[in-house]
Symmetry: C2
Subunit: 132 residues, 2 copies
């Protein structure tokens, strides 16, 4: 990247989100109060636009190939407290409050990151993380 462009992207105040070749940008959602990472998902331009316009998190479902207002069926609506962008503007971080039972994962857990990876001599296995 040329220096001047990188500088605008990283130090400027124009919001110029960089979508990937498939038109998506990655978004991390964290619980605003605790900072706990709840989930990682993707937005297309429309999902981002609707999120900014409504203050409610919208995503693009890659598996279902459709726009998705998180919580529409589960009640786990995510209300934006703050939306951040990273240095090179290809990732978002959303601080949210969560409606319904406060969870984010479709399995019923609070966070999607409920298993840790344990690696040993015979390869890697998963184990349950307490309190998610």
């Amino acid at each position: 990247m040329a220096g001047a462009i990188a500088n605008d992207l990283e130090e400027g105040f124009a919001f110029t989100p960089r979508f990937s070749a498939d038109g998506l940008i990655t978004c991390i959602a964290v619980e605003a109060g605790s900072g706990e990472v709840l989930m990682l998902a993707h937005m297309n331009a429309e999902a981002l636009e609707k999120t900014l316009a409504t203050g409610v998190m919208h995503y693009w479902s890659r598996s279902r190939r459709k726009l998705w207002r998180k919580g529409d069926t589960s009640g786990q609506i995510q209300t934006v407290v703050e939306l951040r962008v990273d240095c090179d503007q290809d990732a978002l971080l959303a601080r949210v409050t969560v409606g319904g039972d406060g969870g984010a994962c479709h399995t019923g857990r609070r966070s999607c990151f409920y298993r840790r990876i344990e690696s040993g001599g015979d390869g890697a296995r998963l184990a349950t993380v307490e309190r998610v």
Copy 2:
């Protein structure tokens, strides 16, 4: 996804990371003590393998197209405290301690997420987040 396969993926203890079509998996790095989100980056299979083998975060640099041990030039080595995987095993969450000056962003900030998005009637702009 067929039910039985989804169940193994989500409820099982086999680590079967799902790399994207371009061979990458997304990884969120958070500071282990505070839980602060530091950065989002990608790993290919080799980066993940080296991370598991050494306990030090390795990434794949998409811009430089090379394996990258974070901190090799900056001293900001990220030591793994815990590595987690999400429900459908296509994203990782790394809890790390950071060497050097404790930062993670190449701009010199602690976190890459140092600007918040402010949306108004005339579009979205960025503003500096205090204390990052």
